[in-house]
Amino acid sequence: MVKAGASPPRPRVWQLWRARARRVPLHTVVVGLCLLWLVPAVGLLVSSFRPPRLAAISGWWSALAPPYQFTLENYRAVLSAYNMERSFLNSLVITIPATVIPIMVAAYAAYAFAWMRFRGREPLFTLVVGSLVIPLQMTLIPVLRLFTAFKLVGTFPAVWLAHAGYGLPFAIYLLRNFMGALPKDVLESASIDGARPLAVFFGLVLPLSIPAMASLAIFQFLWVWNDLLVALIYVGGTPAVAPMTVTISNLVNSLGQNWQLLSAAAFISMALPMVVFFALQQFFVRGILAGAIKG
């Protein structure tokens, strides 16, 4: 900036600086809000590496000045003694099938809704749109009884099926809108050339829908990974199956003031979704923009 001031006439420099100064409040507000959003999470991360003795008596920010005293002990403790290792595995075993199952089921249904003519198509799809906002609470008791009758309470398949069912309306809605917008002439000329629906679906519709399915997969993955209510109701009482959200919510009660342990547990549960988020943010945002009415 000093260098730039040497050549142009003085008034322009002055104007430039005045324009900059006018933008100071703007930058202050934006940067300030970003800090407000980040600092609580940074505090959690820092605390998770602090020795218990210090975490109990001083704020996490005091760890940022020397003498630096950090430890991995908290992670070791929550993973082994507080069931977090098992819970992490459980979260994975719950989330992956609960993401895979509804997407393919929804793709078949979306194909029918978008490209086949049949009686009752509009009312049926309106029902799907309506069911986007049905509170899960409406379904908990009958589904719990159904699972009890089939001895599925406290098992992984119960959670897979429940999440598949609950995720379907949004998945069908998103995919049908995407598939419906695919170029009509391409699909029709394929059928005229004698391609069977099976070939049209797997050869054209599915490959063309990959962006939408990727958005959906990330969405469903994060939704299931972060879910508390469904897991609490259908496997809540079974530690061997409980995902991390359930385990951590129990730890909040039992560990109380042991912030270094709670923060380590919370961070273990946040790590994977944050990686997914940073790696695939564009798909996630696209999914949100495409179907902002999920309930």
């Binding site: 703007l26 809000l33 959003w37 980040l38 505090g43 959690l44 605390s47 109990a56 001083s58 996490w60 920010w61 992956i96 895979v100 089921v105 078949y108 249904a109 029918a112 086949m116 049949f118 309106t126 986007l132 906002v133 049905i134 509170p135 899960l136 609470q137 409406m138 379904t139 008791i141 009958p142 159904l146 098992t155 992984f156 897979w160 069912g165 609950y166 379907l168 309306p169 629906p197 099976l198 508390l228 209510l229 061997a240 959200t245 951590i248 919510s249 909040v252 709670l262 923060s263 919370a266 549960s269 946040m270 979704p273 944050m274 988020f277 945002v285 949100i288 902002a292 009415i293 309930g295």
Partner: protein, 325 residues
């Protein structure tokens, strides 16, 4: 039934194989039936897996819950509207309704307006995408983890002791004579402390959608207004706000549903203590602590009734979209 290794294999190989197999089998059947039947059957066979799941996990349970809401605690005898009368006059439940109204007004209002304000502000800085990523980040983590993060921020130690919670430490340092507040137990602050966590999570959602819509406003339109002497402020109220109104409605309806169903944050941070109870947590307690399935169902039905207006708005909007397709 719960060996993770066996289950993982079943899930990762068996499930996709079964799904692919299904499509091959139904098309195989359709090739062998008369053409007239083929046309009628095809859509329904492609829809069948989805319709089965939807019926078992949404349609049937929703209807059955309405029925259960008119039975007693053990779903044995018919009690008519007694559960509803209890739920609508019970003190805890009325408190929960009041708190959900607080969520509805403050969570929705603040999240939409903060998202809109931020969308306009970040549009003017060069580090826009970085700022948006930061604000959006809490969307990726669970409400449980967010609850832990903020419980720690709100941590309270008596005056004089060293504050380890960020909020009390900051305020004690910044304001001389400030007495630390137990944010999650103080009846004046606790509901707002919880709502703030919801806002922290969801502003990113509102920001991303509104920001995308904002980019859709032609730059010439705002430029023309500026040339005609309109201030930024007038530009916001007369051009940006009216143009974004339909997007604002979409964001608002989503947030209204979230406010009505608020559960995770409350369950983790206060479990409804100190007058922070919400309807969804009330239902959980009726179900698992008190084991009164009639009342729990009645609460679920009331929650559903509250979402019906949003459902109607969504269906209307969907019909309007279809009309222009």
């Amino acid at each position: 039934m719960n060996d993770p290794v066996v289950l993982a294999i079943v899930a990762l190989i068996g499930v996709p194989a079964a799904q692919l197999g299904y499509a091959v089998v139904i098309e195989g059947i359709l090739e062998r039936v008369p053409a007239r039947w083929e046309r009628i059957l095809r859509p329904w066979l492609w829809l069948a897996p989805a319709l089965c799941l939807l019926s078992v996990f949404l349609v049937y349970p929703a209807l059955h819950t309405v029925y259960l809401s008119m039975l007693d605690a053990r779903s044995a005898t018919f009690v008519g509207v007694n559960n509803y009368l209890f739920v609508l006059t019970n003190h805890d439940m009325l408190l929960a309704v009041r708190n959900n109204l607080l969520w509805l007004v403050f969570f929705t209002g603040i999240t939409v307006s903060a998202g809109l304000l931020l969308a306009v502000l970040v549009d003017r800085v060069r580090y826009e995408s970085l700022a948006k990523s930061v604000i959006f980040l809490p969307m990726a983590i669970s409400a449980v983890a967010a609850g832990v993060i903020w419980k720690f921020v709100y941590e309270f130690r008596p005056a004089g002791a060293s504050q380890i919670g960020l909020l009390n430490a900051f305020l004690t340092a910044a304001l001389p004579g400030f007495r630390p507040v137990g944010w999650l137990v103080n009846l004046l602050t606790d509901n707002f402390a919880l709502i703030a966590v919801g806002v922290w999570i969801w502003v990113g959602f509102s920001l991303v959608i509104l920001s995308a819509a904002l980019k859709g406003i032609p730059a010439e339109l705002l430029e023309a207004a500026r040339v005609d002497g309109a201030t930024e402020w007038q530009g916001f109220w007369r051009i940006i706000l009216p143009t974004l109104s339909s997007t604002i409605l979409v964001v608002t309806t989503t947030l209204v549903i979230l406010a009505l169903k608020a559960f995770d944050i409350v369950y983790v941070m206060t479990n409804g203590n100190f007058n922070t109870e919400v309807i969804a947590n009330r239902m959980y307690k009726e179900m698992f602590n008190i084991h009164h399935f009639g009342r729990a169902s009645a609460i679920a039905v009331l929650l559903f009734v509250a979402t019906v207006p949003v459902m109607i708005v969504n269906i209307r909007r969907f019909r309007a979209q279809e009309a222009v397709r």
